[in-house]
């Protein structure tokens, strides 16, 4: 069969039902094979959109997301999505077309060195040079993408090789031959015991969970440990939903826009147990003043994360889904006295009482952006899949929408990609058609990928886009206000576009709400309406996202 037909067989063998992509010259054969392969292609309107849709699909479902693009500009348009998938460890496979082998290296039409350009932002990549290797490479790509610390894998297929006549032997092609690829799973038993003892000894412990808990499907195991031990728990923006918020033991998100309680807890803790988290600079603030009283247990599937930013006293390398139950069993056997944490809990409660999340309520009927999120939470019963763009709205959503389940909060945490929200919502809706999928968009972000409204309409993917519209690049404006003497340079987006008309131009439903007391009603209408809906929510324009750790400051110096 043709190599491209073999690729389709590989995809089906990997359980792929839907892919996201755009055809072009170099991947014409791939799309010819896709024509009747029984795999759904979601024709996106820009390759970046296809890439983010594949990410949204993967994040919502836990399965590998697939995006296709042609050579040259098709592939370079994918780069942002690939980098995004790298930083957030999203299991994805990118299949790119390449110019014919006789043109490679000659600056042929639509030629770009895709493998070279993407090398720093992939978990691994394959340049096909022999068509007989293609099935094996595609299966290995899926294997690498989903195992260990997940990530993006790229397979670049020259156009002529994709038409070659090859044999596809599934059992042979699925044999993994990667002598240099090893993953740690179980965790060292001695280290786990040591960590249990450290927990039993700690008077001011806190569990700090990140995206690894979501990727590792370990939310239940994390919750069990936290409840068994009676520990306070905080999550990173990537870890939200890893522990069912709101909850007595939940102290809120930590980091730059986390709660004071969570950040003060890190600052005062004597033991921090990091689970699938990587001590990013948005968490630590000034590294030299981060958690000065704490010892660290660090559980991560990627050994390179251990002691990368913060030296770990008890490193445990492996899969948190396997490690957390063992840690819980060891801890339980120690029969530690919960009363040792009484003072700690008293202190945490005091902070919670003293520093709740707060904002100024509506004046003259305008909509406070935080209230928009609260309305969303109420209207959806806290049970929607919410994707978001990047900026103030993302942080407010992380603060005010209490995610109680994993894979319900889909955002770009590591790379911070504006424009991520809409295409990832499309991917999430394709993966989970029965769930309500809301894209919480920023007006600055949405305009970067709004062409995907056409995708949602054409493929009848009823995502609901709620724009938190303040007419600003809000987070940048906030920084200019706080740290750059209010010199608002290039942040005012004005009133363009008219989102209602734009939505209608794409064939979606457009709605607008400007009054505080109409927010819930408008959201309900948007959710109940058929098909994709864009709801333009005009919020109070110059609101700052608080509290915050100023860049380069320590957690105890939070402002707002």
């Amino acid at each position: 069969m043709r190599a491209v037909d073999a690729i389709m067989e590989c995809l089906k063998a990997e359980g792929v039902e839907s892919v996201f992509g755009i055809p072009g010259g170099a991947n014409l054969p791939t799309y010819d094979a896709l024509y009747d392969a029984g795999i759904r292609n979601i024709l996106c309107r820009h390759e970046q959109g296809a890439g983010h849709a594949a990410e949204g699909y993967a994040k919502a479902s836990g399965r590998v997301g697939v995006a296709l693009a042609t050579s040259g500009p098709g592939a370079t348009n994918l780069v942002t999505a690939i980098a995004d998938a790298m930083l957030d460890s999203v299991p994805t496979v990118f299949l790119t077309g390449q110019v014919r082998t006789d043109l490679m290296g000659t600056d042929g039409f639509q030629e770009a060195d895709t493998v070279g350009i993407t090398m720093p932002v992939v978990k691994h990549s394959f340049q096909v040079l022999d068509p007989r290797e293609i099935p094996h490479m595609v299966h290995e790509a899926f294997y690498i993408a989903r195992t260990g610390r997940p990530g993006p894998v790229l397979v670049d297929v020259p156009q002529d090789l994709s038409r070659a006549d090859i044999k596809y032997d599934p059992s042979e092609a699925q044999k993994v031959d990667l002598p240099g690829y090893k993953n740690f799973v179980e965790g060292n038993a001695k280290q786990i015991r040591l960590a249990a003892k450290a927990l039993a000894n700690a008077r001011r412990p806190i569990i700090y969970a990140g995206g690894g808990v979501i990727n590792g499907n370990a939310a239940q195991e994390l919750t069990d440990l936290v409840l068994t031990g009676g520990f306070p728990v905080t999550c990173t923006v990537m870890g939200l939903g890893g522990f069912p918020a709101p909850h007595d033991q939940w102290v809120g998100m930590l980091g730059m826009h986390g709660t004071r309680t969570a950040n003060y807890a890190m600052d005062n803790a004597d033991l921090i147990v990091a689970v699938g988290a990587r001590f990013d600079d948005r968490i630590t603030g000034k590294l030299s003043e981060f958690a000065p009283r704490a010892k660290f247990v660090h559980i991560d599937v990627d050994p390179a994360e251990i002691s990368k930013n913060v030296p770990a006293h008890i490193p445990i390398v492996g899969d948190c889904k396997r490690i957390l139950p063992k840690l819980m069993a060891e801890y339980r056997a120690l029969e530690a006295d919960r009363a040792r944490m009484d003072d700690w809990w008293r202190q945490l409660r005091e902070w919670q009482d003293q520093y709740p999340l707060k904002y100024e309520s509506s004046k003259e009927g305008e909509i406070p952006p935080q209230r928009m999120i609260q309305a969303m939470y109420e209207v959806t019963g806290g049970d929607a899949i919410v994707t978001s763009d990047v900026g103030q709205h993302q942080m407010w959503c992380a603060q005010y929408y209490h995610f109680s389940k994993p894979r319900r909060w889909i955002n770009s945490g590591g790379l911070g990609t504006m424009g991520f929200g809409l295409p990832s919502a499309i991917g999430a809706k394709v993966a989970c058609p029965d769930d309500l999928v809301i894209c919480l968009a920023g007006d600055g972000s949405l305009v970067m990928t709004c062409q995907e409204l056409a995708t949602a309409v054409e493929h009848d993917i009823p995502v609901k886009v709620f724009i938190m519209n303040n007419g600003y690049l809000g987070m940048v404006r906030q920084w200019q206000e706080l740290f750059w003497d209010k010199r608002y340079s290039a942040v005012d987006m004005g009133k363009s576009p008219d989102w209602v008309k734009l939505a209608e131009a794409f064939g979606a439903t457009g709605m607008r709400v400007e009054a505080d007391d109409e927010v819930e009603g408008a959201m309900r209408d948007a959710i109940e309406a058929d098909g994709p809906v864009v709801l333009d929510v005009r919020v109070r324009r110059e609101e700052n996202c608080y509290p915050m750790i100023p860049a380069g400051a320590a957690a105890r110096d939070m402002v707002g």
Partner: protein
């Protein structure tokens, strides 16, 4: 610190943070990689992106044709070596890494020196070469070219000696290293 499995409580003070330590000495990493296109680019790219500086790098085939060996020399004062090796390990094509202990390792480097030499100084240079067990491999009217093999410090010492004569060109291979005795590199 109590025995594992007992209820004895651990004192946090007894724990020492590991990792991210700068050893302050030269490290020779022997890295086995799959012999595939692009592997060198991946490694060079990783070093560049993570801000690790390579002192020397030597690449060549091994007894197994599907595998190549890279010998990478790094300054442990400037880089956390454990972070370097962990990041290298994440490259799918990297099979094995050994941070070779100096006392258990034989390291060699070859260098070629082209030195200005007229009739008068040629004899002196040849004497020096003999002392360093180096070989004269080319002679012209105005230069001699010398091949030196040894540890990096020997080559550096030789360089110091010949510089006064006028060092026209110097080419060094970078160190390669192998474990002493039976143990595998």
């Amino acid at each position: 610190m109590g025995e594992p499995g007992t209820k004895e409580i651990l004192r946090l003070e007894d724990l020492e943070a590991a990792g991210n330590i700068h050893t302050g000495r030269k490290h020779v990493l022997s890295v086995l990689v799959e012999n595939k296109p692009g592997v060198l680019t991946r490694i060079a790219g990783l070093f560049a992106r993570r801000g690790f500086n390579i002192d020397t790098l030597a690449v060549g085939p091994t007894e197994d044709e599907s595998v190549s060996r890279m010998t990478i020399v790094l300054d442990g004062a400037a880089h956390p070596i454990d972070q370097v090796t962990k990041q290298l390990h994440k490259l799918v094509n990297v099979i094995k890494i050994r941070d070779l202990e100096p006392k258990d390792t034989i390291a060699r480097e070859m260098a070629l020196f082209k030195v200005s030499a007229d009739g008068q100084s040629r004899g002196e240079i040849m004497q020096l070469a003999e002392i360093f067990r180096a070989r004269i491999i080319d002679v012209s009217g105005r230069t001699v070219t010398i091949e030196v093999t040894g540890m990096a410090d020997k080559i550096e010492a030789f360089e110091l000696m010949v510089r006064p004569f006028g060092l026209v060109e110097m080419v060094r291979t970078g160190e390669i290293a192998i474990a002493r005795g039976k143990s595998q590199t």
